[in-house]
């Protein structure tokens, strides 16, 4: 009762503010939304790199992560028992498209993976069913990589998210997460056609692209002339979310893996160091998404056109 009272008081306080932070996605049960988006993004990236580098463990991990992401999304919904209704509005809704993408991916990946891991399965790896599954999983993977960014870009109420760069940022985050997950499987002893060195080089390249896109997005928000977008940037760097950004994203997600990689240039990294690098990178990505989502501030209702003397 006290928690709901506090939530009500918070809402009343927020409604009186010019720049009201969004609390639906990211706070309370909203954390499942962030977890779902993060995990599903990593799953799509992992599937891509596991296919490219012939990693069976990577494919299995991607499938498991996508399943977990689906569960996290369901845990967030107010009425999870109605989840199947989300297939209806695929024509205009990015959430609906994401749901279809995830369903396609899970169904396709299952068809593709079963003969790969179960030799006695009723259909083989070269069968039509496996081929159809393979195609479905690739379509689903592409949707999963892109849809999250578009969900945020379509949010007209939150100027910080309403940026054309957001989808691109989410796609490169999915790629970075995928490489980190593949590194983790290699560290745990799984086979892959790519060497650790190649994966690390790829990780560094994608990380550089992430940094460029992120800086461009921040620059766009700062120069957009929108007070809500500027407040979001302030909250991210010097406000209520700064701790998550500096400790989670910058220190854990960038400095720690970069330092480990630097150390790996002189001496080959131990498997535990590779695992630590991959986990730190993935956790950094989580905190990045968490802080960007939490930094969302609603467009102020009062505008220049509203009554002025």
């Amino acid at each position: 009762m006290q928690a709901t009272r506090a939530k009500y008081d918070q809402l009343i306080q927020d409604l009186g503010r010019d720049l009201r932070p969004q609390r639906e996605w990211g706070e309370g049960r909203g954390i499942f939304m962030v977890i779902g988006h993060f995990v599903v993004g990593v799953a799509s990236g992992t599937w891509l790199f596991a296919l490219l580098f012939d990693s069976r463990a990577g494919l299995a991990l991607a499938f498991a992560l996508a399943g977990l992401g689906g569960i996290a999304h369901l845990a967030y919904l107010g009425r999870p028992e109605r989840f199947w209704k989300m297939v209806v509005h695929v024509r205009t809704s990015w959430i609906s498209r994401g749901f279809v993408g995830l369903s396609l991916f899970l169904a396709g990946a299952l068809l593709y993976l079963v003969p790969l891991f179960v030799p006695a399965a009723p259909w083989g790896t070269g069968s039509v069913a496996a081929g159809v599954g393979h195609a479905m999983a690739i379509v689903g993977m592409l949707v999963l990589m892109g849809y999250m960014g578009f969900v945020y870009t379509a949010s007209k109420a939150i100027p910080f998210w309403n940026s054309p760069l957001h989808p691109a940022l989410y796609i490169v985050y999915a790629l970075r997460g995928g490489i980190a997950a593949l590194l983790l499987t290699v560290a745990l002893g799984a086979r892959s056609s790519a060497s650790v060195g190649e994966l690390l080089l790829l990780w560094a390249g994608v990380t550089a692209v992430v940094i460029v896109f992120f800086l461009l997005e921040i620059h766009g928000a700062m120069t957009s002339g929108n007070a809500a977008a500027r407040r979001s940037v302030h909250d991210l760097f010097a406000g209520r979310l700064a701790i998550y950004f500096y400790v989670g994203t910058l220190a854990l997600g960038l400095i720690v893996p970069a330092w480990l990689m630097w150390a790996g240039l002189s001496d080959p990294l131990s498997l535990s160091a590779i695992a630590a690098l991959a986990l730190a990178s993935a956790l950094g990505d989580f905190f990045m998404k968490y802080s960007i989502i939490r930094a969302g501030v609603y467009l102020p209702v009062w505008t220049r056109l509203a009554p002025q003397r």
Partner: protein, 200 residues
């Protein structure tokens, strides 16, 4: 037909009658406000004035909430009213993020105002609302269909609110918008709101 509302900011005295009458009409739980009044102070002593901005769902001609909804729970009627079918809502809150006017509310709080539990009034009025879904103003659709004005319009003591057909150039709302340079909120969002304001 496109139903719309005009709010005369010169007449609004910030009495909150619209907010209260809306609460009474719909029996919305705590944390859900179909109609609100925003208050702002302007200027410096001794030249100070208080401004009031009553807000509600703008029933946009191109509603971004309807596009964002994955289930079709948010929908637009033939008369332009935007409403929610609670039976279809999954509570994903994408519509809340899409609405540039922040006039949608998620109903997951307590369904009564007092610690002792729901009053008889709350039990009766609140029974029609589902929990864990999004709620919003529907221009009092049932009243409008019965030929009456929305509760906030009927109960405004200063007659600051007017309701009518925006598509009819001879209607009172169209005339007021034309004669007194009515403006919508956030026209740059491209949503074509059906709620207009007359300057103070």
């Amino acid at each position: 037909m496109r139903r719309g509302m005009v709010i005369d900011l010169k007449r609004c005295i910030g009495c909150y009658a619209c907010q209260l009458s809306c609460k009474a009409e719909h029996g919305t739980p705590p944390g859900v406000f179909y109609a609100r009044v925003l208050k702002k102070e302007e200027g410096q002593y001794p030249s100070v004035r208080q401004l009031f901005l009553p807000v509600l769902c703008n029933h946009c001609e191109e509603p971004p909430c309807v596009d964002a909804c994955p289930t079709g729970a948010s929908f637009k009627c033939e008369d332009g009213i935007v409403d929610i079918d609670p039976e279809k809502c999954v509570g994903c809150r994408a519509c809340m993020m899409a609405c540039p006017y922040s006039n949608r509310y998620y109903n997951d709080g307590p369904q009564h105002y007092f610690a002792q539990g729901a009053t008889v009034y709350e039990q009766v009025r609140g029974a029609r609302h589902q929990t864990d879904v999004v709620m919003k103003c529907n221009f009092c659709r049932d009243r409008v269909r019965a030929g009456r004005d929305p509760a906030c319009v009927e109960n405004c003591p200063t007659v600051a609110r007017h309701f009518g057909d925006l598509d009819d150039p001879t209607s009172e709302v169209s005339r007021l918008i034309k004669e007194r340079s009515g403006f919508p909120l956030h026209p740059e969002a491209g949503t074509k709101p059906s709620v207009y304001y007359l300057p103070p």
